[in-house]
């Protein structure tokens, strides 16, 4: 291949297994360096910011528990995205699916759908989880069917529906479910809370104040399921085939319409479950700000993990740390900035996996 000067790219025949890991790690490191430069330009001391970032996230067990709490929705959303992206479906609507999942889970308590005093805790929580997933799945069904039947650009539809979901939630928390005029619902009764470590502080004193909740187990379980789907199941084979060559998949008799909708719905269900864990495990009520752009960070998590479900676990913990630390950091956009630069560098570094790069002077340029 020839590319106008000054670089020459040569398709590599075999990519060593370690190279993707190295480039990903390199991209993250480089992202921190570039962000540091931007920070320095705004007058902040990047070293202080980064050491603060570290302390605020990995400095203590309590901090680490916070990180895992933040990583939980990222993990679930990242898994959903990695499944959809494998089929080259750009579900950017995890944010909206997250909100609808949170709404549906809250409905169990707020309507209420069951008698909250007599129903056992596990049943309430299961119902919330199921409804959360259902909500996310149904909300993702819309862009899914539009993509499958009419080939409508799913990026735009999922993004637009994000706004719709947030406004829908607002309608309820500002109106019907408003707690005496505040923009939030009443606190859920304990029977609708996901169990968390702090609940067992009596037995294990070290757990006191730890916010880590059962949701992370949902996430890890989902990671195993997604792994089995992608690497072991026939359905995963179909998804991979459609993702690599849609026309070949159609030729092989695979129903692309159905699979598009299904993958969208599973992806949405995982985001909806993330919404449920957030209201049931963390804030214990439905309110306006339950997401710090989890839906978008999940996209980056999935991409950084190269769509591998187990890598998603690691990356979501790292991003959870970034979110925890950046809560209190000024200026507020810094986590966005780091995420954006990271994603850019990761996709740029992919060129290293595909090609060997040679630098040449234009005069020496020859056909490759």
């Amino acid at each position: 291949m020839r590319i106008p000067y000054p670089v020459l790219l040569k398709r590599t025949e075999d990519t060593p297994k370690w190279l993707p890991v190295v480039t990903s790690v390199g991209a993250v490191l480089l992202a921190f360096i570039i962000s540091g430069i931007v920070l320095a330009a705004t007058g902040a001391n990047p070293f202080k910011v980064y050491s603060y970032l570290y302390k605020a996230s990995f400095g203590s067990w309590g901090a680490f528990s916070d990180v895992i709490v933040k990583a939980t929705p990222l993990l679930l959303i990242g898994l959903g995205c990695s499944l959809a992206f494998r089929m080259r479906l750009w579900n950017i609507g995890a944010e909206g699916q997250f909100f609808v999942g949170a709404f549906m889970a809250s409905a169990v308590v707020m309507v209420p759908l069951v008698n909250l005093d007599t129903t056992p805790r596990w049943a309430i929580i299961s119902l919330m989880a199921v409804l959360g997933m259902l909500g996310g799945a149904l909300f993702a069904f819309v862009p899914g069917i539009l993509k499958a039947k009419l080939n409508i650009n799913e990026i735009i539809t999922t993004l637009m529906l994000n706004y719709v979901a947030v406004l829908w939630n607002n309608y309820w928390i500002f109106g019907k479910w408003s707690e005496s005029g505040f923009q939030m619902t009443k606190t859920f009764p304990k029977s609708a809370w996901l169990p968390r470590l702090a609940d067992y502080a009596k037995q294990v004193p070290a757990f006191s104040g730890m916010t880590l909740h059962v949701g992370i187990l949902f996430g890890l379980f989902a990671a195993v399921i997604v792994y089995l789907i992608i690497y072991r199941s026939k359905w995963g084979y179909k998804i991979t085939l459609i993702g690599d060559n849609r026309r070949a998949a159609r030729y092989a008799g695979i129903n692309i319409t159905t699979n598009t909708i299904l993958v969208f719905m599973v992806s949405g269900a995982l985001a909806g479950l993330a919404g449920m864990t957030e209201v049931s495990g963390v804030v214990h009520r439905l309110q306006e700000r339950i997401s710090t752009s989890y839906g978008f960070s999940g996209v980056i998590v999935a991409w950084l993990a190269k769509l591998h479900p187990f890598a998603v676990i690691v990356v979501s913990i790292l991003f959870g740390a970034l979110l925890v630390a950046s809560r209190e950091i000024q200026p507020s956009g810094i986590s966005f900035l780091i995420q954006g630069i990271t994603l850019f560098l990761v996709i740029s570094s992919d060129v290293l996996l595909k090609y060997e790069i040679k630098w040449v002077r234009p005069a020496q340029e020859t056909a490759q």
Partner: protein, 321 residues
Amino acid sequence: MNWIEIFRSGISTGTVLLIASIGEILTERAGIQNLGVEGMMLVGAMAGFKVAFTTGNVWLGLLAAIAAGGLLSLAHALVTIHFQADQTVSGLSLTFLGTGLALVLGDGLTGQTGPVIPRASIPLLSQIPYLGPVAFADHNLLVYFGYLLVPVVTYFINKTRPGLHLRAVGENPAAADTLGVNIYRTRYLYTFIGGCFAGLAGAAISVAIAPGWYSNLTVNGQGWIAVALVIFAHWNPWRAAMGGYLFGILRRFTLDLQGPRILFGLANPFFYNTNLVFFLQMTPYILTVIALIWGSSAARKKRIGAPAALGTPYQRGERGL
């Protein structure tokens, strides 16, 4: 309800969408899809406001916005043209990057007021009944710039040599390449121009239509709507203009719906239940989806498609062509 005011302000806010989508049309006509319009607009809005605020000169602010949007788009150009990365992912990361940059660099600007683009009326034309006050009276200058932009860009694309090359590069880059058109240069150029327009559109918000910096609420999804409009408009500037103005008008209309007690002879539900406003606020987003559905099915019927090479990186074949 004051219909003249609704149309007036619709044209004014529609100008933002118009400028951004025309930029994106130029980029996509060259075969590059840049989904980072939202990010570039935010950076443009921030840069425009910041420079106008610090220097006191709104024109410098506009220039800064154009430069900021253009520079940011070059990141997308590099990654998608030279590194052949996926344009979707790159566009998304551009949105993140732009949002982050704008928030970091725009820190502390919230709540400030700066200079704004001057307003003007067009003599004679503003005297036309109804149309005059709606379209030609007391608008900021960028609105008039928008009026000029549409025919100029249409002419440029369809009737000039660079426009011919632009279309060729977006439709069949290999053909253009064999005839000596520099594909990479063309694609860089129009990605950059698209970025410049997005930056300008951002600044149109922060120094003209809704002056001020309100962090990421400044743009609030309009970049995405602009991208959707491009599809709805079938890559045609005239349709993009119509769509942009229509959106602006509908937006303002839904806002004004909450005003009157009586609406079409009935008790206005939006007046008596303020929470219904959230449904009104959903309309632009839902309309975007509907416009997209409508636009793409119309495109299918009329056999107008996206530029054939949209989204595919160009490289000369490894053997032959």
